[in-house]
């Protein structure tokens, strides 16, 4: 009772300090700064984490934080000691600072509490201020724990090609049915209106500012699960009450902050890890990322910390739910559900009427799932879909029974079970009448023949790959292949899902053409097509593309050729460990070097362990034959 009263008095008198109070304040500030210097607080891990300092290449520190309002000293971005002294000074003032316009004790509440603990502030000489905005914000979370949320990759949007990570602040008393009410802590780039198609490029080079926000989880679920059709993995973290408070205090401070958003490294995944690092400074999470931060890697890292993750939950996307529900039905019922979405007259048909109510409910739920899928994934949905959905739901409500729980198994397992991101391969083989040895490094990420566990099925993203090969008879060492970017997305088509498949490949390889035996060849190619899934043996995907290709090489007349053609192919799982792919391509080049090309590719992968595989590949182009056997490892 007395303490708040004293605090109130202190506040009341603070704005009009007498000379004596003023000089005591100066004195106490100086004493605190001396104390901090003696204890070397400015160099301690906590302080460096709170201000997001990173050691520079040539010594010294620089903060990754880019909002000047985040620092209380003009040199704060590069000088931890000056920032610490300025922070202590500002704690004596009720002046409003930062973008959030609060006294420094409240705006930078994590710094305040850490320094208070370290220096044992004397409350009579440095009176604590009450922080009602923070208190209200904090109470409203009703925090019980924190979950790391991973919406899986979505290849058809460049910004979410690698997935995303965010935190959910789980509430006390939350059940599996009410966890959508929890708030998230999300970090995202603020892309201005009319950013246009240039935005992914700007995103790579830090042209946008990233901000922290507390979007309700139900909106994120709607965005990922219902609109973008991405499966979500939720990892409940074991944090103590003290760590939870530190986590949220620092999140509150970051409301004053923005970071320039860099798609590859300082992205969503990187900056939210900093919150966990401050919650438990022994974790050392952000230290692991030097050049790029891939969401799946951050999940792998968090899961690898002993005892940090207590519980993993899977939340299927709507498209996964539809696929699994369809799989569970015999063909006749599957067709019936589909005809309901085409013509609601089916609801009165004898075939439907004779089914037991539970089965009717299941089919109606599936029909509604499908209609809502169409409505939300189409740019201008047909009005009759909405009407049909309404009719289906009205019929469903008349059944007067609740839908039964339907457990959905994921198609792709959780990301931390997948292979790591970088790949090195060594191998050897024959080309025409020569033999060779080769070594490959690939920066990222996954190709169609890599072990599929933990990755979006039938999607390939290869970046920054280079192969150096030594030919024994020609006695020549050369850059055999290099890939800047090689994307391929197969989307099997059926009566429900109609998305096209597509591919894009930019890089160089070594060709034999005209008189040139080993010639470097730069190319750019792209194609669009369709895919179809079969289950003859285990799982096979057949695909076909129409494509164009432009190439530059000194082997060509006029140095180039441009043309088009098509590819057909098959990707097949033979066993759990053995995967097989074959493609055939015909291209005709009417521009530049007028020529045409028949290409065959047969490749096969055998998985030895999660991060170890063997490959045997055969490439044929025109009169050029190439066989390579390699051992690959991921790290």
């Amino acid at each position: 009772m007395l303490l708040p009263f004293l605090a109130f008095l202190a506040c009341l008198f603070a704005p009009v300090p007498s000379d004596a109070q003023h000089s005591d304040r100066e004195l106490y500030l100086k004493q605190l700064i001396d104390q901090a210097e003696q204890a070397k607080l400015a160099g301690q891990r906590e302080w460096l984490l709170l201000l997001h300092y990173r050691k520079g290449l040539f010594g010294g520190y620089e903060s990754e934080q880019d909002d000047p309002g985040f620092f209380l000293s003009p040199n704060g971005k590069t000088d931890p000691s000056a920032e610490l002294a300025a922070t202590l000074a500002q704690f004596f003032s009720a002046e409003l600072v930062g973008r959030s316009r609060q006294p420094a004790q409240c705006a930078f509440i994590a710094r305040y509490h850490w320094l208070k603990e370290q220096l044992q502030f004397d409350p009579t000489r440095l009176p604590p201020l009450s922080c009602e905005r923070f208190d209200r914000w904090y109470e409203d979370f009703e925090v019980q724990s924190i979950s790391l949320i991973f919406p899986s990759a979505f290849l058809n949007n460049p910004a979410s090609m690698f997935g995303h990570t965010l935190f959910r602040v789980d509430q006390k008393g939350q059940t599996e049915h009410t966890r959508i009410l929890a708030y998230t802590i999300n970090y995202a780039a603020q892309v201005p209106p009319n950013a246009g198609p240039i935005y992914p490029i700007k995103g790579i080079f830090g042209s946008y500012k990233g901000y922290f926000s507390t979007i309700p989880y139900y909106l994120k679920v709607q965005q990922y699960r219902d609109i973008e059709n991405r499966d979500i993995w939720e990892y409940r973290l074991n944090l103590t009450e003290h760590q939870l408070r530190r986590f949220l205090m620092h999140a509150w401070e970051l409301g004053n902050a923005y970071f320039d958003y860099f798609f590859f490294k300082e992205n969503c995944s990187y900056h939210i890890l900093a919150l966990l690092d401050y919650a438990d400074p022994d974790l050392h999470l952000t230290d692991e990322f030097l050049f790029w931060t891939v969401p799946a890697d951050t999940v792998r890292l968090v899961v690898s910390k002993p005892g940090l993750v207590s519980d993993i939950t899977y939340r299927p996307s709507r498209s996964t739910v539809i696929k699994r529900k369809r799989e569970s039905l015999p063909a006749a019922e599957r067709d019936l559900a589909h005809s309901i979405t085409q013509d609601i007259g089916e609801l009165t048909s004898p075939t439907f009427a004779q089914l037991v109510p539970a089965k009717q409910a299941f089919l109606l739920d599936l029909a509604s799932d499908y209609l809502r899928y169409r409505i939300e994934t189409t740019d201008s949905p047909k009005p009759e879909w909405k009407e049909r959905n309404r009719a289906v739901l009205t019929a469903r409500s008349q059944l007067r029974i609740p839908s039964e729980e339907f457990t959905v198994r994921p198609f792709a397992r959780q990301p931390e079970l997948g292979h790591k991101m970088h790949r090195v391969a060594v191998g050897g083989g024959w080309r025409n009448n020569d033999t060779f040895e080769e070594a490959t490094f690939r920066g990222g990420y996954h190709d169609l023949l890599d072990p599929e566990v933990g990755y979006t099925p039938d999607a390939q993203i290869e970046m920054a790959s280079i192969t150096v090969r030594h030919y024994n008879r020609a006695d020549q060492t050369r850059v055999e292949r290099a890939t800047l970017l090689n994307l391929l997305s197969l989307s099997p088509i059926d009566s429900v899902f109609h998305a096209p498949s597509w591919k894009l490949n930019v890089g160089m390889n070594t060709i034999r053409h005209n008189d040139c035996q080993l010639c470097s060849n730069g190319f750019l190619s792209g194609g669009i097509g369709g895919a179809k899934e079969f289950r003859l043996l285990k799982r096979e995907v057949l695909f076909a593309f129409a494509e164009t290709e432009a190439s530059v090489s000194k082997a060509y007349h006029e140095m180039h050729r441009i043309g088009g053609g098509g590819t057909v192919g098959m990707l097949a799982d033979i066993t759990e460990r053995w995967k097989f792919m074959a493609t055939g391509t015909y291209l005709k080049f009417p521009l530049g070097d007028k020529s045409d090309d028949f290409r065959w590719y047969i490749g096969s992968r055998f998985t030895l362990a999660r991060n170890w595989t063997l490959r045997l590949e055969y490439n044929h182009r025109d009169r050029d034959n190439d066989v390579v056997f390699s051992v690959q490892t991921f790290f």
Partner: protein
Amino acid sequence: MSKKVLLLAIAVLFGSQAGLAMASNPDTGPGCGLGKLAWGEYKGQKEIAPQVLQATTNGSFGSSTFGISFGTSGCTNDGKIMSEHKTTTFASLNLDALTAEMAQGQGEHLASLATLMGVPAERHAAFFAMTQERYTSLVKAGEASPVALVKSLNDAIASHPVLAQASVR
């Protein structure tokens, strides 16, 4: 709810792109704008939706709305939805899922709405059955406005033999 409608709803509720939203819906004054939000009006608004969509794509539903310590804006306070608006905001942003789950007699959106309305967990089953039974009239209310939906639900709870015993917020 399609993405465009959802984003437009967020714009109307929270006032990002307020100029646009208000121009299209002149009754919506400053503040939360929930009372006036009617879904029927959004059919012919294709020319507005893309702009709102642009404004919020990858800004992930507007960080300024839910920004931490951004101060007061529309229905939110430092990024948190004001408690008096929690139920109606939830109802308006999840109307599609709620509609489906009322018909299906269960679901997490419906359970969450019941929780927000103060229905204790052991009476959720009764609440679900009630929404399924009154589906047609509830959907009509929901199409008028989220406030009308919540009001209809409250009325239904008040006249329900089991649910009425529960304290309702």
